[in-house]
């Protein structure tokens, strides 16, 4: 598939469809290609971080930097494979796998405490500040106002601890039970 071609052949479409395990229909792949070309303004065959960040809706997302690490330099085939977790045809397992990959920044198949802490920081910004513990004056109970403490407490309640290494099956156990909604509709003309 040429980098600068603006037309997809039937063969290209089928190749992309296979690569993403049929997560998208052929029409959706054509739409995604139009979108890809629209984002790839300099026509380099991949969408750079800058080009993604020029979409304001994406730039204001708290997880944008983390996702950029996964998106940077992808060609169209890989771009579609990346988005396949968001297809309504994707299984819950595939969606959880995607979430796992977002956490597992070094890609070694294990999510450590710091990975989860980083994501929590991204989501809460400076609004849960690293402050001294406050003490509730009435109940005289220690209060948690710190990301580390929040995460540690919640982990311990779920049966893990700060040193635990979570793997894919742990994620499936934690996230699999409740309905995971993670779907995006590809606009088709």
């Amino acid at each position: 598939m040429g980098n600068t071609s603006s037309m997809l052949t039937q063969y290209d479409i089928e190749e992309v469809q296979q690569h993403c395990n049929n997560a998208f229909s052929q029409q959706e792949i054509v739409s995604l290609y139009e979108r890809f070309c629209q984002l790839d303004r300099n026509g380099g065959g991949f969408v750079s971080g800058e080009e993604f960040l020029s979409v304001p809706e994406f730039a204001v997302n708290p997880l944008s930097q983390r996702l950029l690490r996964m998106l940077d330099g992808l060609n169209f085939k890989e771009f579609v494979a990346f988005l396949s977790a968001f297809s309504p045809r994707a299984t819950v397992q595939q969606k959880i796998e995607f979430i796992f990959k977002v956490y597992d920044s070094d890609g070694n198949g294990k999510v450590i405490f710091n990975d989860m802490l980083d994501v929590l920081h991204d989501l809460t910004g400076q609004f849960i500040s690293e402050q001294q513990r406050e003490v509730d004056l009435i109940l005289e109970m220690p209060l948690f106002t710190d990301c580390k403490q929040v995460l540690t407490k919640v982990l311990e309640e779920a049966g893990y601890n700060k040193e635990s290494l979570l793997v894919m099956s742990d994620f499936v156990k934690i996230l699999g039970s409740s309905g995971l909604k993670m779907e995006v509709e590809v606009p088709v003309d």
Binding site: L63, S129, D136, I138
Partner: protein, 378 residues
């Protein structure tokens, strides 16, 4: 009742109430999962709402849609229609275009041969000179419109020249200005352009009274606001025409209006402009083509057909902020011209969104996390 609210640092963004609340526009449902009940590990690990929003933005986003030029639907796809289309092309390029170029040249000759003498010879007699220059500018704009075979239908009462009055319109291309100017000599506020356009701006448009701004200058905003105010207070200045979107949008959407035009203490008269796409897409995609190319494209199309509505003048209501006023006017214009509103600032074409949008999301998520923690303390 215990005072166990987690300490939240107030966002510095609260001090900058520059824009209406984007959350009012974006799809409802928080982007970050708000845990209900006791906080569990699942609530912290489930980042699916934030991911869904990010993926949604990657696949399609309302901002990019505003600046998408719509390619004309090709209708020449069979043996019978194709020759017809070819004839059309020949006619447009070899007959219409030269005719139009001729008309435009004649127009320029007439204009310059009147304008230059008037400008220099009547230096003493300012009033008369201004009147004649105004009429001449209206004339050259009419010639421009004729050179694209512009068919403009004006609706609504013609604007009357009164002080303390500004006009605002939606913006699709620089030709918006020409189309409006042929009817009434407005003073305009424009981005200074390079090349021959800039030359025109600094010579001829000076005579109707124009204000220049430079998008890239940060301090520029205050200077411009001051100039706007001075101009609008002046009794015999031409009425000011402002395009509050700040950038050209593709005539199907409208981006947020900058509040500068709405805090001058003047009556605001909205003008809505809608181009008929069947004839030509009048959107000037400044990223894709220069203004010269854009004009040439217009001159080789069949016609530029558009509707202009002069709408009812509005005043700031008691208790209304300039931003609310701007949004109300944007509503009026968008409804009239059939535009969809998007919550983005047009300048995001050139810069990144401010961190306060992200901060708002982070704040609401942090609050719900702490609420969930609080629940188990009880």
């Amino acid at each position: 009742m215990n005072s166990s609210e987690g300490k939240l640092k107030s966002s510095s963004s609260e001090l900058d109430l520059d824009r209406p609340n984007i959350e009012d526009y974006l799809p409802s449902g928080s982007s970050i999962q708000e845990p209900h009940g006791k906080l569990r590990l699942r609530d912290l690990l489930d980042i699916s709402p934030a991911l869904t929003e990010a993926a949604g933005a990657i696949v399609d986003d309302s901002f990019t849609r505003c600046f998408k030029s719509n390619p004309a639907e090709p209708w020449n796809w069979n043996v019978y229609l194709f020759p017809l289309w070819c004839c059309g092309v020949v006619f447009r390029y070899l007959i219409l275009f030269p005719m139009r170029a001729l008309i435009l040249t004649i127009g320029w000759i007439i204009f310059l041969s009147c304008f230059i003498p008037v400008h220099f010879l009547l230096k003493g007699n300012d009033n008369l000179r201004k009147k004649m220059e105004r009429a001449l500018v209206e004339l050259i704009c009419s010639f421009f419109v004729a050179s694209w075979t512009g068919v403009v239908k004006y609706h609504g009462p013609r604007p009357s020249m009164r002080p303390k009055q500004v006009f605002v319109a939606n913006h699709t291309s620089m030709i918006d200005f020409i189309i409006l100017e042929q009817m009434t000599a407005f003073a305009v506020i424009m981005q200074k352009h390079p090349g021959w356009v800039g030359l025109l701006q600094s010579t001829i448009l000076e005579s109707v009274g124009c204000i220049w701004f430079n998008r890239s200058e940060a301090k520029d905003r205050e200077i411009v606001t001051r100039k706007l105010r001075e101009h609008s207070q002046g009794a015999d200045n031409n009425p000011l025409l402002i395009f509050p979107e700040g950038t050209c949008v593709n005539n199907q959407y409208s981006v947020m209006f900058k509040k500068g035009a709405f805090e001058l203490g003047c009556t605001v008269c909205p003008i809505a402009i809608k181009y008929n796409k069947i004839f030509v897409d009048a959107f000037w995609n400044s990223r894709k083509q220069s203004f010269t190319m854009h004009l040439l494209q217009l001159m080789t199309s069949w016609a530029v057909v558009c509707d202009v509505w002069y709408l009812e003048p509005q005043n700031l209501r008691p208790g209304e902020t300039p931003i609310e006023f701007a949004e109300r006017i944007r509503d009026i214009i968008s409804v009239r011209a059939g535009l969809k509103k998007v919550p983005w600032d047009g300048y995001l074409k050139y810069s990144r969104p401010s961190p306060k949008h992200r901060e708002r999301k982070q704040q609401s998520f942090a609050e719900s996390v702490l609420r969930g923690l609080e629940l188990e303390e009880k």
